[in-house]
C-alpha cells in the first residue's frame, strides 16, 4: 500500500512536470503565434474616408512621408484634362509647372493614343500631400488615392498620422491585404 502510494506520488510528480512542461511549450507556442499575429497587421488609409487634409505629408515619422499617391488605373479615365494633374481653370493643357497641381512634379503624363494619357506617380518625388487626390476626386473619377507604402512605412506601434487624421481614415489592416485600392473594394 505504502509502495503504491510512493509510486503514485512519483507518478503524480512526473505527470505534473510533464503537464507543466506541456503547458509551457503550448503557451510559448501560442504566445509566439499571438505575437507573430500581432505583427501581421499594418496601417493603411481608407480612401473613401480620407479628406486630403495634407497631414499625411507632415505627420509621418518618415521624411518624406511613407504615404504616396497611387493611381487605381481601373478607375482612371486616362483623361486629357486630368484634374489631379492640371490646376482648376487652366486655359490650355500646357504642362508648364505653373499649370500643375503637384508641388513636386511627381506625376508623369504619358501619351497613350489620341486623346488618352496615362498618369504615373514617381514615388521618389511624391510627398503624400494629397493635392492631386483632391483634384481627381472632386472633379474626376477619383482614381488617385493616398496609400501608406509598406516598403518604407515603419509600421509604428501607433501611426503618427492616425493620431492626427481628422477623418479617422487610417486603420490597421491584415498584412496579407495591405492596400485599400478603390477599385478592389467598395465604400462600406
Amino acid at each position: 500500500m505504502a509502495d503504491d502510494k510512493k509510486l503514485n506520488r512519483r507518478d503524480f510528480i512526473q505527470n505534473s512536470m510533464r503537464t507543466t512542461l506541456g503547458i509551457a511549450v503550448v503557451g510559448l507556442g501560442g504566445l509566439s503565434m499571438l505575437r507573430s499575429k500581432g505583427e501581421n497587421w499594418v496601417w493603411q488609409i481608407d480612401p473613401f474616408k480620407c479628406t486630403w487634409c495634407g497631414r499625411c505629408a507632415t505627420s509621418c515619422v518618415m521624411t518624406p512621408s511613407a504615404v504616396k499617391c497611387v493611381n487605381a488605373y481601373d478607375l482612371c479615365g486616362y483623361c486629357d484634362l486630368c484634374t489631379g494633374y492640371f490646376k482648376n481653370g487652366v486655359k490650355d493643357l500646357n504642362t508648364g509647372a505653373e499649370n500643375l497641381v503637384c508641388p513636386t512634379s511627381a506625376i508623369v503624363r504619358k501619351f497613350i493614343e489620341e486623346p488618352y494619357f496615362q498618369f504615373d506617380i514617381v514615388e521618389k518625388l511624391c510627398i503624400g500631400c494629397g493635392k492631386c487626390v483632391k483634384g481627381c476626386t472632386q472633379f474626376g473619377n477619383g482614381s488617385f488615392i493616398l496609400q501608406i507604402r509598406h516598403d518604407r512605412c515603419k509600421n509604428c506601434n501607433e501611426c503618427a498620422i492616425a493620431r492626427m487624421c481628422p477623418s479617422d481614415a487610417i486603420k490597421r489592416v491584415p498584412a496579407n491585404t495591405p492596400y485599400m485600392i478603390k477599385s478592389d473594394f467598395i465604400r462600406k
Binding site: 495634407g54 497631414r55 486629357d80 486623346p115 494629397g130 483632391k134 472633379f139 474626376g140 473619377n141 481628422p166
Partner: protein, 319 residues
C-alpha cells in the same frame, strides 16, 4: 497631522491636469490643427451667386428601393428603373404599378405607348402596364448602355462601354452604330472616361449627345452624321469641368438644355445656343453627393432630379 492623504490628493490632481493638457494638445479639434501647407482650395468653384438660382426645391419623393438607376417622366407619371424593378408613381408619390424586370436596369425612356429599358448589354420593350413585349439581342461584352432616346420609330442607345451610339427601330431591329467621329480621318469620336453617356431628342426632334470627355453637347443627324456642338471648358458655374460632364442632360419644352454634373454636383439650364441661362440647384443642394442626378422634365417646365445617393426624386420648379 497626517499629510499623506493631502499629498496623494495633490499628486492625483496634478496627474489629472497633465493628462487633460496632453489630451487637449493631441486632440483633433479644428482649432488645434495646424494650417494645411498643401491646401488645394476648390470651395470657391462651388459657390454660386444666389441671383442665378431661379428654381426652388418644391417636393421630395422618397423611393422605397435599394438602387435606383433611371428616371423618366411621361403620361403625367414618373417611371423609375431600379434594382430589378420598374416602378410607376404619380407626381404625388403614390406607387401605381410595380413590375419585375429580367435583370438589373441601367436606364429608361418612356413614350406615350411604350417603355424601353436598357440593361447594361441589352434593351427590352414593355407596354405601359410593365408587361415585357420584346427582349432585344445583347450587344456584346464591352457594352454598357447608359441612355436611351426615342423619336417616332427610331431608338438610339448610348453605349458607354464601347463609346458608340446604336440605332434601332422601336420594334427592335438593329439599324447600325456610330462613334461620333466628325470626319473620316478624325482621330477620335466620343470620349467617355466614366459610365456617363447621355442621348436625348429636343422638342424639334434634333438628336443631341453628351460627349462628356470633351465637356461638349453635340448634335447629330439621325443617320449618325455630326452636325454641330457647343462646349464650355470652365471650372466656374458657366461651364463644365472635370473628366466627364455633363453627366446627364435633357430638354425643357423651349429647347433649353437642363444639365447635371458629377462630383461638383449641380443642375443648370443652358439656352439652346449653349449660353448659361440659370442655375436650378447649386452644389450646396448636394452636400454629400458625388453622383450626378438623372433628369426628367415635364411639359410645364418642371425638373425632376433622381438623387441616387439619397434615393429620392427631387422636384425643382421655377421660382
Amino acid at each position: 497631522m497626517n499629510k499623506r492623504p493631502i499629498i496623494i490628493f495633490l499628486l492625483l490632481m496634478a496627474a489629472i491636469i497633465v493628462f487633460v493638457i496632453y489630451k487637449d494638445l493631441i486632440s483633433k479639434r479644428p482649432e488645434n490643427r495646424s494650417v494645411n501647407p498643401y491646401e488645394y482650395d476648390v470651395v470657391k468653384y462651388k459657390s454660386v451667386d444666389s441671383a442665378m438660382v431661379r428654381y426652388k426645391e418644391a417636393q421630395v419623393i422618397s423611393l422605397n428601393t435599394r438602387a435606383p438607376r433611371g428616371l423618366a417622366y411621361a403620361n403625367r407619371k414618373l417611371y423609375i428603373a431600379s434594382d430589378s424593378l420598374l416602378q410607376v408613381i404619380t407626381v404625388d408619390g403614390k406607387e401605381v404599378n410595380r413590375a419585375k424586370l429580367p435583370a438589373s436596369p441601367s436606364c429608361i425612356t418612356v413614350t406615350d405607348q411604350s417603355i424601353f429599358i436598357g440593361f447594361n448589354d441589352f434593351i427590352a420593350a414593355f407596354d405601359l402596364n410593365g408587361k415585357m413585349t420584346g427582349r432585344w439581342k445583347p450587344l456584346g461584352k464591352k457594352t454598357l448602355i447608359t441612355s436611351l432616346a426615342v423619336k417616332d420609330n427610331l431608338l438610339f442607345a448610348a453605349d458607354a462601354g464601347s463609346r458608340k451610339v446604336h440605332r434601332y427601330s422601336t420594334d427592335g431591329k438593329y439599324l447600325g452604330v456610330f462613334d461620333g467621329k466628325s470626319a473620316k480621318d478624325s482621330k477620335h469620336g466620343f470620349i467617355i472616361p466614366s459610365p456617363y453617356f447621355d442621348v436625348a431628342f429636343n422638342h424639334d426632334g434634333e438628336l443631341w449627345i453628351a460627349n462628356t470627355g470633351k465637356r461638349a453637347l453635340e448634335q447629330y443627324y439621325d443617320n449618325g452624321t455630326f452636325r454641330t456642338f457647343w462646349s464650355n471648358d470652365e471650372v466656374g458655374i458657366e461651364g463644365f469641368w472635370g473628366c466627364c460632364n455633363p453627366a446627364h442632360f435633357t430638354f425643357l419644352p423651349d429647347g433649353s438644355f437642363v444639365t447635371s454634373e458629377k462630383n461638383n454636383v449641380r443642375i443648370k439650364v443652358y439656352k439652346p445656343s449653349g449660353a448659361l441661362d440659370c442655375v436650378v440647384a447649386p452644389s450646396e443642394k448636394f452636400p454629400n453627393e458625388e453622383l450626378a442626378p438623372a433628369l426628367a422634365t415635364t411639359p410645364e417646365g418642371d425638373i425632376y432630379a433622381l438623387d441616387f445617393q439619397k434615393k429620392e426624386i427631387r422636384l425643382f420648379q421655377h421660382k
